[in-house]
Subunit: 291 residues, 6 copies
């Protein structure tokens, strides 16, 4: 019976991760494709049942854009950042909290565990301040732009997460924070997830998006294992560019603050999460302080 | 200093309610008028700080209707019940969870306490089954109508609420349940609130809407205090009609199942919640098992 | 309804003090006038019910003097200090423990909470050593006087207080300590209360006596708010004299050891305790480390 | 070394009593003779250290009488019951709480354990109601007498005792109860001790006074072991008379309510408490439900 | 990656068994063949890590016989029962406790979990009384035989098991009980395991030996699933004979006392334990109260 | 009654040792003579019942030698160290775990407490590594000898002991450790006991063997009390020789690592353990950091 062999092969990993806290950032297609999300949550529930303490942080950019358009509101971006006026904030909250977050919690129930959806105002989890004016170049002239209700995290209060994890729930977090006056602010999901991993003193931080991992300059192969200084060098020498930079930076910040392993994997491929955790080589990129 | 006299006068009520669980159903204008909601939540936070364990259950019908219209979707009602197709369910979830619930939690933070927003899928709180076909009269012919994603509650799992109350949080609940397969179902907020009060063995169940309380047939005066059989009689003899019947029925079910006091009050008037609880005569209607 | 406005106005203070430990020293007329004591204890019970952890330390000098005279024993003072022989100690214990302390606990019961009376030997709460011989001037000649069974506190064991506070009781403490052999020693109530506040790492230390607060040299106005160095200067420049010096010194010692706020208020005026805590300006003197 | 033999001989008793709750009523000479009390408390502390949970309830009649006389107040008794007017109550409280109770707690400290003195108002331990008018014969005419501040126990709230026992303290209780309004009432110490033993579901109730135990009609020998019906018969057939009747009745009430063993022993003789517990035959009288 | 499919397929079983207590009786070749034992313990540790609470009870008859022969002592059996004189008992204890039990605990450590070896005297786990004289036929004459130090279980004290399971250890139990005087008695391992399963209110009792399960009369096929009455009938109608009768009886006793499932499987085949638990049809025989 | 005097005399010691952890190493004749062991365990149970937390570590060399000879296996020693081949290890384990350890646990049950027998593999208590080759002189030539399965302790994991002590059990430990691969290694019992005392931060470490204590060079008198430097000097100046050196070294290591008192006493004399602990002068040798 080969199924038993597989279970035995997975055992050392199950032992190693037993009781460990793992923060999983879910982004990309998983947020818009129900089949992808279905598979990811199934994996998450399995991790829960073999003894890990899982916290999910999700994004949701594309879905917000879709809904805005459906409601006749044109999304505006300046330098890649969404300008978030009152109406955009309301739509973002409805989509992130009322649709995506709620949907993930329902999927967790469907697969037999119990999730609890949280926004940054629940239990004062994420406290942020409004982001400063952004300087951007418009027609070769530097202009200052107000991004609106966009914030950067100042404080994470992980007590609510600790209570829920102790009681056996899987917390599912929307990256909307509140400021000191209780007003909502959109925050970057990668950054929020990293900060939460640090506040929980997590063992692993896993960033799942649409890309396969950190790749070489020619985009011909994935670095499956990197240490801190190798990753640093890939940023410095220009191998890594674009959207991978903030993802990798969030990982390095985590490693600086006690998180043991960071992973960047592609969430769109079936069971990549399990393959990354339960096989020797993994499938995406794992970064550790020291190799 | 007369403020001290007032504090002293409130003391016996504070003592009496200390450590007691109170479920508050919020409905009506409070759901659409930010100023009304502001005052109500301020009162709730005060109750929390003088030692009560508060659980909020909110409605949101009018706001759903508004948003549907804004998105070009015509709401349909049959016999007073909203027909909830896929699109309507999605909008309802976004409005209830992503806007109203989230807004209440932010207000709680603004007034200095910590709320946690929950939907029926969080911690498997509310399990429902799809409501049976409804028989209605259309042009004097009885027809059967499928209400769509509308459910009736089969099971309340209050553990998540107990954990949160123990840890000092104020749970805020949206009346959307899940069925055994994890699919969402709209449920009646009054009924959900009553069932939650029963599951928590609450001391009080308070229903706040736009009406002042149970009134006599001439609508000239409020019954401030009713016992179980008096309330029963007001239903039987036709004094009470319309939307008050389900509200009062939910109260009677609560009293049948161990809840000590039920209140029906108008949430639109400033601090009615405090006046009802902290004055001898109250301002709305209180129903007890025995007078 | 203006009572609600008052409650709302009190809310920020209730929030701020929620769960905080407050040590209240009761002295002066409250110890001999039942009506004054009645009002003070009513206030204390209200503070308990809105969430503070209250510890009472009481004095009782005048009542001891009365009882001694009633029993035909002449009180003797040398340099303002009571000489405490065996008989005096026995009378002091009976009056302080058997009458004043017991009376306060009964009043707490009357107003609906539960107190527990303690002397310094209960749970080895206050350990003291006999005070050294005092040098005083008699007819211009320095003499040494033995004050008898009078001690200075060497050690506070707050465990018994912590257990009682956790279980929801209000501890009421008589300032009689024991030495290492189990013998009783009278100790100064102001000092004992301050030392207990420090041992409990209290948030506030409130000294209630017959004086309105720290006053200016002309005794024309009260300093409602002082910081540490201002209070220090008032001692140095001679503005403060007499019995206020030890009271203020106990406050400064508290501030030096982590207590956040010290208050000196007049306990004889109705509800001064509530007014001091629940109004912006207060009514007596509050001293903080930094203004 | 014969000391070791003694320890080994005591071992089965130590094992049997380990973790058991024992209520000890202290009365008689122990209340007025410091040397007797010293020995008794030494024994009590030893029992504490070999693992029993000890609760002391003390009396104090003779000392109250002494103090009243010293203060020029003539004690009045009607039919053996002390008439307790306001002044008498005050003196009784001062003597019982401020002197005897406090003294016992100090002795416990002296012998190396930690006691906590309690009156019936501490933690609402003993709730009583005023005793009804007593009918007595005066010159062959029946008269009704008001005993004043004398009560009979209606309710025992043992929570404060349970908290203190759990935390390793020895509670020491004065038999003064409070009524529902917080007023003090003198209660019979034997009865109070028995009621406390019942409320704590104690293993043993030990009544220590100046008599050696239950004796035969000729007062020539002690019954060392009695069962319930034998004790009952000794009352019925007139063997037992006078002050022994209430003591034995308190024991029988205890046995009726789950206390396992009751003992009546003479506290004036050195270490009778240990001899009764640690030797096969004991020295006083032990009463069990069944022999 | 097919390994992930296997993990996903195992998930429903993992969920179902999560936190459940499972008592595994180990007998047969596993006790003498290190390779077999190795595989079994590997499986047990995997069950532990996916969330089950495992208790092992082991036998060891053949190994005792081997050791006795090695020490020049001839084993004696009467009617299939080992006669256990002093010397035999000593050898049995040394082999069972000092070799087999200890070896199992070491294997658990080798595979990454922590076991704790227990005999029936540890924590007074198994209390037994000497077995009565056995009637056997010798040359057609009935004789009574004293089996020596052989007992039947009177009492199981599962507290020590509960403490160890709570703390994450795997208890490993040798079937040697003690009598009320502390003397050792050999007890039947199947019976002991069943009684322990009942005392722990276990979810499953799994009996692993050298036989494949309950078979039909022709020994041509295994009954994979039986209910209580079917199993009963197989005994009554003579289908089951010999050593299977006591094994099946222990199962039926378990089902009568609240254990949910009993399994009889062959421990000699690789990973039969996992196959039985993690596949739909299993590999041995499962007996439930009702099918 | 002189028994009471003895109890009173023991009281200060009972108080002092209450709740303290004491590790007792049992060796010498106690391991082979049932009567001696009986008395020692009786004493241990008494210590348990008067409030100490006792951990027993036992040896068993002579018994292993006896059993080896009985099984026709000749014990081999090189330089005083037992050469432990596979067969010797198996016999040692059977004797130590299956006979001596098990016997001690049964005796504890006999005297009314509850023990739990442990080997170094239980709860991964003792982790060791194989001892390096030993250099010995054979015919004036240095040779290297492999002692076989003999280890030195690298790590003590006291969690299992802490759990058992908290739950009121007396742990009884066999000095067989496991290496990182789960293989058994014989370790020196004196060293193991000392290391366990250090890991538990014990108050006392008591080494019971066949010798009366540390003696002067002439062997004419015992040093009843030694401080650290005195003991050191006795080693340096050659007063102490032979087997006492490792015993005393284990004591000094304990004192260096926080154990407060070490005792070396003769376990063969009746109740020496109690006499050493409960009398002023003791009977063996006590070593403290400072006298």
């Amino acid at each position: 019976m080969n199924r038993v062999d597989v279970l035995m092969e997975a055992m050392p990993y199950i032992q190693k991760f037993h009781g460990k806290t793992v923060v999983v950032k879910l982004g990309g297609h998983a947020m818009v494709d129900p089949d992808v999300l279905d598979t990811v949550i199934q994996d998450v529930v399995l991790l829960h049942y073999v003894g890990m303490k899982i916290v999910i942080v999700h994004g949701g950019g594309p879905e917000i854009t879709n809904k805005m358009k459906a409601m006749g509101k044109e999304p505006k971006f300046v330098g890649g950042l969404r300008i978030t006026d009152n109406e955009t904030l309301e739509i973002a909250q409805m989509v992130l909290v009322g649709k995506i977050n709620d949907g993930i919690v329902s999927l967790i129930a469907k697969f037999g565990a119990a999730g609890v959806g949280l926004s940054g105002n629940d239990g004062n989890l994420l406290i942020a301040k409004k982001m400063a004016m952004q300087k951007i170049m418009v027609n070769e002239i530097e202009e200052e732009v107000d991004l609106g209700h966009v914030g950067e995290i100042e404080e994470v209060n992980p007590e609510i997460l600790e209570r829920l994890l102790e009681s056996g729930y899987i917390p599912v977090i929307t990256p909307i924070a509140i400021d000191r006056k209780g007003l909502s602010l959109n925050v970057n999901a990668d950054t929020a997830a990293g900060d939460i991993a640090i506040a929980l003193n997590a063992y692993k931080f896993i960033n799942m998006s649409d890309i396969d991992g950190v790749m070489n300059a020619q985009r011909t192969r994935i670095y499956h294992r990197l240490n801190y200084s190798e990753a640093m060098n890939l940023i410095k020498d220009g191998t890594i560019v674009g959207g991978m930079i903030p993802k990798l930076s969030a990982c390095l910040k985590c490693l600086d603050n006690g998180v043991r392993h960071c992973h960047i994997i592609n969430g769109n491929k079936d069971h990549n999460l399990l393959i990354e955790l339960f096989t020797h080589d993994g499938i995406g990129t794992m970064i550790k302080k020291k190799s």
